[in-house]
């Protein structure tokens, strides 16, 4: 083996790694460490929700019934579908199918935008119904105070989730650009893989938000 061959390494391999496999494992691990901080970040909000729901269960069920349940259910389906297209994007990247990768990234972004559009419609509905906590808030007198706690949590939790979606769309735009330019290859698809991890995580947060916010008062007639 010539010295040139011995020192040859793939263009995408950073010099501190032994090989592409190790490089990919490090990228995945790093993303997971970040996601753990995200789990605990959202976890604090879920803990807050649990405390107040325990204290004011009737106000929470009454306020939950005011949410647009078909919109929440549709958005759950939209996000799960976007997770499928994301997983298929990673799959296409693994196989070096650039055109398919680009198609799936665009589909993922389109579904992400659809989610945000439906969410915006919901926020508009709640604004029109005077369900924004504060001076203009209107609700049945019995639960007037504590329903505001529910709606505060609703707007903070879904708002932070929506912010994560917007950031996710930004990441996907960069991935689309890199894929189109040919930076993403069969050998080097880590960016798509770790972006996918982030996207799926945001999906998981919604999987918990949906029943806890939209469905807790449905059985009361």
């Amino acid at each position: 083996m010539s010295p040139e061959a011995a020192h040859h390494h793939p263009a995408a391999l950073a010099h501190q790694f032994d090989g592409l496999e190790q490089q990919k494992e490090v990228a995945t691990l790093g993303m997971w460490v970040f996601l753990v901080t995200e789990i605990l970040f959202f976890g604090g909000l879920f803990a807050t929700y649990s405390i107040y729901r325990t204290l004011y269960p009737d106000a929470f069920t009454a306020a939950s019934r005011e949410l647009v349940v078909w919109a929440g259910t549709t958005n759950t389906a939209v996000l799960i579908t976007s997770s499928l297209t994301m997983a298929l994007a990673v799959h296409a990247a693994q196989l070096g199918q650039r055109r398919l990768l680009i198609v799936f990234l665009i589909l993922t972004m389109a579904l992400g935008c659809a989610f945000l559009g439906i969410k915006a419609f919901e926020y508009y509905t709640e604004f029109a119904a005077h369900h924004i906590p504060g001076a203009g808030f209107q609700f049945e007198p019995e639960h007037f105070q504590h329903a505001q706690i529910f709606f505060s949590l609703y707007f903070v939790m879904t708002g932070l989730h929506a912010l994560h979606m917007v950031i996710g769309l930004g990441i996907m735009a960069v991935m689309l650009w890199w894929s189109a330019r040919g930076i993403i290859t069969e050998e080097y698809y880590n960016p798509i893989e770790v972006s996918g991890l982030y996207w799926h995580f945001v999906d998981i947060v919604w999987i918990f938000l949906f029943p806890l916010l939209y469905l807790i008062g449905r059985h009361v007639h």
Binding site: L20, E21, K24, E25, T28, L29, W32, V33, L35, V36, I39, L40, G43, G44, F46, A47, S50, I51, T54, L55, V69, T73, T76, A77, I80, T81, S83, L84, M86, A87, L88, H91, Q94, L95, E186, E187, E193, G196, L197, H200, F201, D203, I204, I207, F208, F210, P211, L212, L215, I216, R218, H219, V220
Partner: protein
């Protein structure tokens, strides 16, 4: 180069199960099951999350170190939730008048 490229049908199957689970969660919430409503909703949500983590996020095929980080994250979340709720859920006993 990667050791684990899953066949596409794995993703389609997981997707189908996630959609059916969503439908079940939605429908079940219209029945009055008492405390079971919340338990069922959370059980299905956890089931869905585990599917996403294992297959969509490829943790099933990841290194033991990744497993340790994922389980560690969930474990610490469990500490936060259980200690917090261990306080709040046990305040209503009123034995001290």
């Amino acid at each position: 180069m990667s050791a684990h490229i899953l066949p596409r049908r794995v993703y389609y199957t997981v997707f189908a199960v996630l959609m059916v689970s969503t439908y079940i969660t939605w429908q079940i919430s219209y029945f009055d099951l008492g405390p079971l409503n919340t338990i069922a909703a959370l059980a299905i949500a956890v089931f869905k999350a585990v599917l996403v983590v294992l297959f969509f996020m490829h943790v099933r095929y990841s290194t033991p170190l990744t497993w340790a980080v994922v389980i560690g994250g969930v474990f610490w979340l469990g500490i936060m939730l259980s200690l917090t709720l261990g306080d709040y859920l046990t305040r209503g006993w009123g034995t001290f008048g």
